[in-house]
């Protein structure tokens, strides 16, 4: 009842959204980069351009530019364009840095919000929170079986689309992992057949992310912007677009891998994925870390025996 244009102008969802955005940037390392790239398309596009130049330069220096524009389908075809190490080493370094930055963020976040880092080693809470996270439990809405988003009627669309992105991401990650095993332990070189595990997992993941991210962008454009923090909303858009592009270029690469476009697509796809990795610790993507920690907090606080004494007389007054 105090929402704007009321005198008190209380906009709780916006405050929560602002708090989330500030959390993500407060614990980022270095902090300054968070406000710079996370919510802005401009800097993200610059990072994208640099990534493209970088992968292009890698191609020029270590790969085989002449092969980038002709079709090849034999095992090892990707490497014929760009050597394996040139693909893997820069990406790994960036991911490693991101991981260290995020671990540092987790440590500081937990210390500041809960005090003791020992509290975090609570297996029932960690597992319970994981169970909440994998089904995105709290986006299902309450008793109305949905959230009032994007309109005024309860809907589960956002929850379903978010699940698509989340599980799509997991499948794509699994595909990468399996491909890594195939290549480094079994000695099987990509591209893999359509019916192989990496391609199937990657395709399911890719399609899931395209449907989810495109759908979420559509919903966001139709929703009322007033209950959200504008900067945070902008971070949402940036992440959704980058994920969508990564998935679309990945799927195009799969479909057109037997054509002369493969080389260029590989470069573009790698550049987009690189953007995702580079911006990960500074953009909306880190939300999965802090939302998960919040779920752990919730699990710890929901344990029985922590009731706050009630104040019955308060309910009687108007």
């Amino acid at each position: 009842m105090y929402t704007p244009p009321h005198d008190f102008a209380v906009n709780l969802p916006q405050v929560f959204s602002e708090v989330r955005r500030k959390t993500y940037s407060r614990y980022a390392l270095p902090q300054r980069l968070s406000g710079l790239a996370g919510p802005r398309f401009g800097p993200t596009m610059i990072i994208g351009a640099i990534s493209l130049i970088f992968t292009g330069a890698l191609l020029a220096l270590t790969g085989n530019p002449a092969r980038a524009l002709v079709a090849h389908t034999s095992p090892g075809a990707f490497e014929e364009v760009l050597p394996y190490l040139a693909m893997v080493v820069p990406a790994s370094l960036i991911v490693m840095f991101g991981l260290i930055a995020v671990l540092f963020g987790i440590y500081r976040f937990w210390r500041e919000t809960r005090g003791s880092i020992n509290d975090l080693f609570d297996p029932p809470a960690l597992l319970g929170a994981m169970a909440d996270a994998v089904v995105v439990r709290f986006q299902q809405g309450g008793e109305d079986k949905g959230c009032y988003y994007p309109g005024e009627n309860a809907s589960r669309t956002r929850w379903i689309l978010h699940l698509c992105v989340f599980w799509g991401f997991c499948f794509a990650f699994a595909a990468t992992l399996v491909a890594f095993i195939y290549q480094d332990f079994l000695g099987l070189l990509p591209p893999y057949p359509i019916l192989s595990a990496p391609v199937l997992l990657g395709s399911i993941g890719g399609v899931g992310m395209i449907i989810g991210a495109t759908g979420l962008i559509y919903l966001k454009m139709r929703s009322d912007p007033a209950p959200a923090d504008a900067t945070h909303t902008s971070s949402d858009y940036v992440l959704l677009v980058v994920i969508d592009l990564a998935a679309i270029t990945g799927m195009l690469l799969l479909v057109m891998r037997a054509t002369p476009a493969m080389g260029s697509l590989l470069i573009i796809h790698l550049a987009v994925v690189l953007v995702l990795f580079v911006t990960a610790p500074y953009g909306k993507l880190v939300h999965f870390v802090y939302r998960y920690l919040a779920l752990v907090q919730n699990r710890i606080e929901s344990k029985p025996g922590k009731m706050i004494p009630k104040n019955e007389k308060e309910t009687a007054l108007w």
Binding site: M1, S302, T315, W318
Partner: protein, 460 residues
């Protein structure tokens, strides 16, 4: 021509319209406020009182019908219309299930932070969420809703009403209906009407709820010979922070510091026993008392030991390291202010044991007026103070109705097709004081009846 026209879209009006729409094809709901402020004072509510057994998942323990009726009669005294009160109590469990069917959702107990009440059930998301649920239902059912629609007059022809005259965005329009339900609340936002009772003092009052309860339909009906009910000059009023907005500050501007310190008027004089009885029994009398003080203003003073004893205030208290400093902060003469506090301190019997949960034995001796309980010296700096104004919650004057909510006339049979629900007719039941959460019960029970009766009348 509408079957049923409902005036006012708070809880009572929304329930009336939905209830009518189940039986009548064309229902029009007129709301005076713009869309963002729809829902009247129901926006500010949190919980609804009703009789229930101990198997209710949204309350803690049983609340039998007899106990609810007792509570109601104890608050209201002899003037309570027992037939209507019993009817409301009897129907209260059913209205709760009916509300759930319309999409209202309830707060379940949360582990860790929130306790439920024994007597009342809380809306999930508060009154605003409840109002939004009703409107969703109303739209789904095809009820026609008009916002910014101020009912200026009601067209009355002898014993029947024909329609309403509406002013909307600068245009006047007449809507005809076979039956009309008034659910437009009291007149607590009508400053000119209040001025006729309170004089210029009204300019120093705060209205706690919507600015749209101006009581136009109520005045029109009283003029047309409807039978009034309830004390015409009385209003439910509590002490609110003087910094509160003139209208619609809602529940959060109320101040509960009174029993934990002393209250002075602008001449630095105490004027009433701050510790007479437990606060829930006295909070509603302080609004009126401040209204009778010069300039309708009062100053609550506590020391640092009492700051955590009551519900935190919306605005920060005034603060001073010394008493003169606090007095000056609040705009009082520092010398007189300090003298008043010290006089109170000198008269305290220091043998008592302070206990806010009971009527304790901390009291003053030889002080006029006395402070009978919780009298603890104001001596531990920093000192805190609040400037308080009377804040009107609602007015008591309303329309008398029969058990089918038909509006009664001063003479002759009731209006044939005019019904009333909610605050506009609650004066029969809530004759004085207030029983938390029961305004919604009245709106729900009589709104549902009004909707059914009006639709039935329209069908014949």
């Amino acid at each position: 021509m509408f079957d049923v026209i409902v005036v006012g879209a708070g809880n009572a009006g929304l329930v009336s319209a939905i209830s009518a729409k189940y039986r009548a094809p064309r229902v029009l709901l007129l709301e005076k406020s713009p869309e963002w402020m729809r829902g009247g004072n129901s926006r500010h509510t949190r919980d609804i009182r009703y009789a229930h057994g101990d198997d209710d998942p949204y309350t803690e323990g049983a609340y039998p019908k007899e106990e609810l009726l007792d509570d109601l009669l104890r608050v209201g005294g002899e003037k309570v219309n027992r037939d209507l009160a019993s009817l409301c109590v009897r129907e209260s469990p059913a209205i709760l299930s009916w509300m759930s069917e319309q999409g209202i959702r309830w707060q379940q107990p949360l582990k860790g932070t929130l306790h439920l009440s024994r007597t009342c059930r809380f809306f999930l998301g508060g009154g605003k969420a409840a109002v939004n649920s009703y409107f969703r239902k109303a739209h789904q059912m095809g009820i026609e809703v008009l916002y910014d629609a101020s009912v200026e007059d009601i067209i009355i022809d002898g014993n029947t009403v024909k329609g309403v005259v509406v002013e909307r965005l600068g245009e006047q329009k007449t809507f005809l209906g076979k039956a009309i339900i008034l659910a437009s609340g009291g007149f607590e936002s009508n400053i000119e009407w209040l001025r006729s009772h309170w004089g210029e003092a009204i300019d120093n009052f705060v209205i706690r709820g919507t600015p749209y309860n101006t009581g136009r339909p109520l005045a029109a009906l009283l003029e047309a010979g409807a039978m009034p009910v309830g004390e015409p000059r009385a209003a439910h009023a509590v002490c609110v922070d003087a910094r509160a907005p003139k209208f619609d500050g809602g529940i959060v501007t109320r101040l509960d510091a009174t029993p934990f310190g002393i209250v002075l008027n602008k001449h630095c004089r105490r004027f009433y026993d701050e510790g007479e009885d437990i606060w829930p029994k006295r909070y509603a009398s302080w609004g009126g008392m401040i209204g009778h003080q010069p300039d309708q203003v009062a100053y609550a003073v506590i020391d640092s030991r009492m700051l955590g004893q009551f519900l935190p205030s919306l605005y920060r208290p005034y603060q001073g390291q010394t008493l003169p400093e606090l007095g000056a902060e609040m705009g009082l003469a520092p010398g007189m202010f300090t003298a008043a506090v010290e006089e109170y301190n000198r008269h305290i019997n220091r043998d008592g044991t302070f206990n806010p949960a009971i009527l304790d034995d901390c009291h003053t001796e030889g002080l006029d007026p006395p402070k009978s309980h919780w009298a603890v010296p104001i001596e531990a700096p920093p000192f805190y103070g609040y400037v308080m104004r009377p804040g009107i919650t609602f007015t008591y004057l309303g329309l008398a109705v029969d058990e089918t909510t038909r509006v009664l006339k001063q003479s002759g049979p009731p209006f044939a097709n005019l019904y009333a629900a909610g605050e506009i007719m609650s004066g029969s039941i809530l004759t004085r004081g207030y029983l938390g959460g029961f305004g919604l019960t009245i709106g729900g029970v009589f709104g549902r009846i009004a909707g059914q009766e009006a639709a039935k009348h329209a069908a014949n």
